[in-house]
Amino acid sequence: MRIGGDVMAEHRPPKIIVTKIGFDGHDRGSRVVAAYLRDAGMEVVYTPPWQEIAAVVKLATEEDADVIGVSSLATDHLLVPKLMAALRVAALDDVQVIVGGIVPPKDQRMLIAAGVARVFHPGASLEAIADTVRALAATRRTQLEGSI
């Protein structure tokens, strides 16, 4: 039996949390995305809506997630900067955050400035989302390689 080595490396799927913070309760978008990412070979932690920011941070910590996907309708995206701040406080700066949903252009600029990697709008292709998640996960793992 060999020990160590990267025997499993290529079998290690990206790990993403698909969640909703704030009040909105529409989960069609997040469910369709979660199902697609699973079918694209990823490991998806799918949460119910109304997650507290502290809960999402704990989840990302324990699961060692590569990416957090926040699904937002209404104005819940206005809470995302708070999530970014909480991630920094928890030393989870390496975790990438993407946002999907209805986000007005002005708010999109604000989110990117706050550190969100990408914002997806209604009509975005699932394949594009999957590609983005894969790329972000790969970047994070390279960044963290060898460190605990």
């Binding site: 009040f23 529409h26 697609y36 206005l78 209805i102 709008h121 209604p122 699932l126």
Partner: protein, 560 residues
Amino acid sequence: MNKPIVKPMARTEFEQGERRWQAAFDASPGARSDAANRSGIEVKPLYTPQDWSGERYLEALGFPGEYPNTRGIYPSMHRGRSWTQRQLIGLGVPEDYNARLKELLAHGATAVSLIPCNSVFRGYDADEVPEELLGTCGTVVNTVDDMERALADIPLEKISCALNDPSPFTLLALVLAVARRRGIAWTKITGTSNQSDCISHYVANHMFFRLALQGARRVLTDHIAFCNAQVPGWNPLSVVGQHMQQAGATPAESMAFTLASAIQYAEDCQARGMDPDHFLPRVTFFFDISVSFFEEIAKFRAARRLWARIARERFGAKDPKAWRFKFHAQSSGVDLTRQQPLNNIARVAVQAMAGIFGGLQSLHTDSYDEVVSVPTAEAARVAVATQNILREEAHLTDVIDPLGGSYYVETLTDQMQEKIESIIARIDAAGGMYKAVEQGLVQRMIGDSAFAAQQRIERGEQTVVGVNAYQTDEDPDAYAVLEYPQRERIAAQVTRLRAYKAQRSNAAAAKALDALARAAQGTENVMARVVEAAEAGATHGEICACLRRELGFGQPLAVV
């Protein structure tokens, strides 16, 4: 393409004509004979009396206002009285809402509809939540004073009120408290507890889901009993198909799930000893209208027929009023696009027409910019004007059920009915809607349909103009986006709430909340106590918190 197997010589002129047409059709360039609608029903290029003939008129259709109501629940339908133009509005603080409401009433809207802030939907007072989320999608109403301001100068005894107000129906309690203050008898209050259907919120659009499912079930039955007795002009039960369709259910699925839910609620009322002839007339429905024009019309006509039969045969109702399938419908926001938003005006017009031909009782038309942000005033005006144009320029109200007798529409109505019935049978087999949703069966079906639809769009099999066809390069910033409510106004609202809590009798409010808790623990009517609590000065958040403690916090099932 279905070529008939070699038949003997065509006997009749009809068959000859049909064959001639089929041959010419097949030879036509680009002629496709395979198409299916969203519910999966195959749609042929041509329908003839072979598909449906007028001989079936009396058995299948009947006359408007008569069992089985296929052509309409009233004898005169829109020719007698137009559908109610019930535009949903809700924004910011109560004064803003009041101003927008008066504007809409002046422009032809004929009823009140209140969408509360998301914080209210979630069961919280304004001082319990992050301020940036307040007042952005609806009106912040937490107290009797707030409701008083929201409905200032509105004659409650004359205007019908639709409140988006899920269990435990605090907004209705506040309205009744205001009515009491104004000296208006509750028997004069009319309207609907829009979206009082707890099952659909458990399954989809969870924002409305506040109490644990079985707790919400009990409160709903109490609410129906309370209203039937004390506010007889009020429709306490509004069963919702909209959320499930927006979550991805096909039109047939969403209608089936809705009817199955209505069956559960009616069974609960019957078990409580209520008389179907008494409570069924006060049941209303609320549906999405997709842009699949004919399918929606058939969906509504089939539902009317089905519901009449369910009411009469499954519940033994004898009063014709109890067989009526009354519904409000809203143009589907899911079909609207962010790309080329002005196209949405055309989509909404088509959806509205489908609803009108489908025989709705009240209609909300979406604003074209709904997908970009909360609608602007100008876009909201276009939405109302759309209805006015359909009624007064296109004269869609002149004829009752104008598509009745159409070979296609009647065939499709029958086919939709069959599909709906088979899904209801599946739910029955699972033990009814409550069991089916607790097991996740319904959620999985909806999820599968949603996924399939998304795949069709991504593969280009289903066209969405501006998204996967006819795209243009456009600047998304080009369309005006509603500014969020001013932070100062929201901050002032929160301050006002704190002041309210300080100056009311905390003892009276606490006592009423105690009584409410005890009612929840026992068998007293919870709704009666909710209203008493509102009148004693308890706030919306306090009432919700109390019932969540007693009956459980509502968590939907996470199913992928």
